[in-house]
Symmetry: C2
Subunit: 435 residues, 2 copies
């Protein structure tokens, strides 16, 4: 087999075999297949797509270039959630403790934020002392002790994916459904989980803006996961406005703690509970989804979820007192109100624009090398449908560096649309993929 | 401008501007754009194609990465022929001297053979002492002295094309019409010519087997040449059987000399004369194609073409006596006859197979690094339509190394089809593109 023949076969629209895909992925990871053949291959995949069998084979091959955690010694099912990323999406911080409190093991490997989207690792790191870069040994110990662990991708996990993703980024081959789906799943499936609930965002603030694209991505990922013998379902959820009321790392941790205290915003609480219930359901911990929902709600009401969060924070070197006193989280130097110039109802909050404004304030990364300011961000006082009076505050900006404040404010002013009438509310969960 | 944006623009089917194409080609040649971006670009071009304007811009950009000969000091028009390659195609050796004898200047830069096709350089090198690697200075001097020069591609000519072609070869991006056409034309247009006749082969032994593909390639090349302000036309000519009666380097030189002596096979003579006439016509040397045909025929009949060939051989270091005594050319150690097992008429000679058999005997290259044996090859005694008796010789194999003789013989036996009836003769020139 020669790499060029595999490229040509894909180019000409023929289905590749498992062995051919494994040969290509292994060779590329080891360096015997050069970047220029991998980029030509990726472009051929962009145009020709991949069958379900090819996509599973690609995912498995990429996963097997690195370590695949064996967590079978944990005394219970292992389950995780993956979100395709959004603005104000801090459900991981809420659902992981809740699911762990209800008896699941949650070995969560997360990413960092880029552009308008936030990342779980950045949020966790706003907790003073919290270490996301545990060794795999420490990760195991944490899981054994408290039922969850929250870390970043290690170099041992799916090195093929890291190498290929960097190449795709500079060869205009990112936007390929099978490549996106296999990239995500190769990392998630390396966690050694039995079940996975996917939260595929759709709308202005999502990676995939169009519902049909989000649905296609969700379907592709569900197919891969099931093709690898795991319990995988997907929720397609709304990202037309930020989730909850905060955008910015410490602000989002604060809101997560409040949600675990039972005082969170309704949209954030309900999506977090629903995803946690799906985790228990897929992991077979509860007999059916409704029973799972009850168990998750109990874990919230009893405070078991909050205590679990406190426990993992302490085990990972963070200050557990933030769960009792969120003022221990980093605070920005000043706050600035953005007031409404009109009266009526909030008809829309351009989600991506809010994320970009947060990035300008320092809450997000413009490039992978940008530094994040954990304290800054945005607190939304009004969401879509809320009534608003002229001069009333729409949001509070938490600011450390005024350098780009003006630009951020201008963006945020454009982002909020006030009108006489608000559109009818869209459901948070747009579709469930559970066939 | 970033390379990745240019790749994406092409990937998404938008037309690239001249500046974008020049930026990409220059960057790639200098090394600031890496191979992996160039291969992704080439694959995007494979799928999306290129507009006429893009193809012209690509050709010009590649040409301008190297030296473009300025031959304006020659006292007459400069014109060349380019063939897409075939089996037994030695017209260059005949038409270049004829056109030069009739008053044109022919700065011919040719290639080597690969696979089943032969190359002009290999044929010329079978003439004892002949040097195809003149410096550009020597090339100019030769052109000034005798009106033609016959050399190989120098490193100074279109380095972008050489680099890109090597990359395309290993990334399954060879088979792209705009890339093929611009590759050929970037080198030809660097010759500093005013006019060019293209001989695009079609049929079993051609690079493009299907007539429609050959036509598309011819049209693309004609468009490029005219887009660059040159007189360019194309003949699409038949390559369903070998041209003339010989395949193999010294054998083809011998046949070319015989043709210049007026004793060549009809098909070879007529195509060589026709192409030479087109050269004179396009160069404006003769008032119309018919007048050009007369001048070329005169140059043949008077022996001026043969003398011109002798002159260029001597100027390029070769033994000019081969034009009087072809036995001075390399001779194979032995000859083997392939006899007909049937009686009837030759109904077909699988052209590519004959080329491959020649390659096995040592007349061609299996890979670019293979060594060629100038003496070996095949002499066809029967062409399509000829009557044949059982036991009569179909061809003579000129052999030095019996190592792969059996394999070659088996191929050749498969190649010749004898039947009761031969199909009607196809015209040698299938189409003229002269709009």
């Amino acid at each position: 087999v020669r790499a060029v023949d595999i490229i040509q076969k894909k180019r000409d629209g023929h289905e590749l075999g498992r062995d051919e895909i494994a040969f290509f992925v292994d060779g590329y990871t080891r360096g015997s297949i050069p970047d220029y053949q991998a980029s030509a291959f990726a472009m051929a995949v962009f145009f020709r797509g991949m069958t379900a069998a090819e996509t599973v084979a690609l995912t498995e091959s990429m996963m097997r270039t690195g370590e695949v955690l064996d967590l079978s010694d944990l005394p219970g099912p292992r389950v995780d959630k993956h979100s395709t990323g959004g603005v104000g999406d801090k459900t991981s911080l809420i659902l992981a403790p809740l699911a762990a409190a209800a008896g699941a093991f949650v070995p969560m490997i997360s990413g960092r934020g880029l552009g308008h989207t936030g990342g779980t690792l950045d949020k966790l790191e706003s907790i003073p002392g919290f270490r996301v870069s545990l060794s795999l040994k420490e990760f195991r110990e944490t899981l054994h002790k408290c039922g969850l662990g929250l870390i970043g991708q290690t170099p041992e996990i799916a090195p093929a994916d890291r190498k290929l993703y960097a190449l795709r980024d500079v060869t205009a081959t990112v936007e390929s459904l099978p490549l996106i789906a296999s990239s995500i799943m190769s990392k998630k499936m390396a966690e050694g989980i039995d079940a996975l609930i996917l939260d595929v965002k759709t709308g202005d603030g999502a990676f995939m803006k169009k519902f049909e694209d989000s649905k296609a991505l969700a379907e592709a990922m569900v197919r891969i996961g099931r093709g690898m013998g795991k319990k995988v379902s997907a929720l397609i959820t709304d990202m037309e406005q930020p989730l909850g009321r905060t955008v910015g790392n410490a602000l989002e941790v604060k809101e997560s703690v409040e949600t675990l205290q039972g005082r969170g915003p309704k949209d954030l609480e309900s999506l977090s509970l629903e995803l946690a219930a799906w985790m228990l359901h897929l992991a077979g911990i509860a007999p059916g989804l409704d029973a799972a929902r009850t168990r998750v709600r109990d874990a919230l009401a009893s405070g078991a979820g909050l205590r679990k969060f406190q426990e993992v924070i302490e085990l990972q070197g963070g200050d557990p007192r933030v769960c009792d006193d969120t003022s221990r989280l980093p605070q920005a130097r000043e706050t600035v109100e953005l007031r409404s110039e009109a009266e009526g109802r909030v008809a829309g909050i351009a989600c991506r624009t809010v994320g970009q404004a947060g990035m300008l304030l320092g809450a997000g990364r413009e490039t992978v090398d940008s530094r994040i300011d954990p304290a800054v961000g945005i607190v939304l006082h009004k969401k879509v449908g809320d009534p608003v009076r002229e001069g009333e505050s729409l949001m509070t900006l938490h600011v450390d560096d005024r350098g780009r404040l003006e630009e951020a404010t201008r963006l945020l002013r454009q982002a909020v649309r006030v009108a006489r009438e608000a559109p009818p509310a869209t459901p948070l969960v747009r579709l469930v993929l559970d066939r």
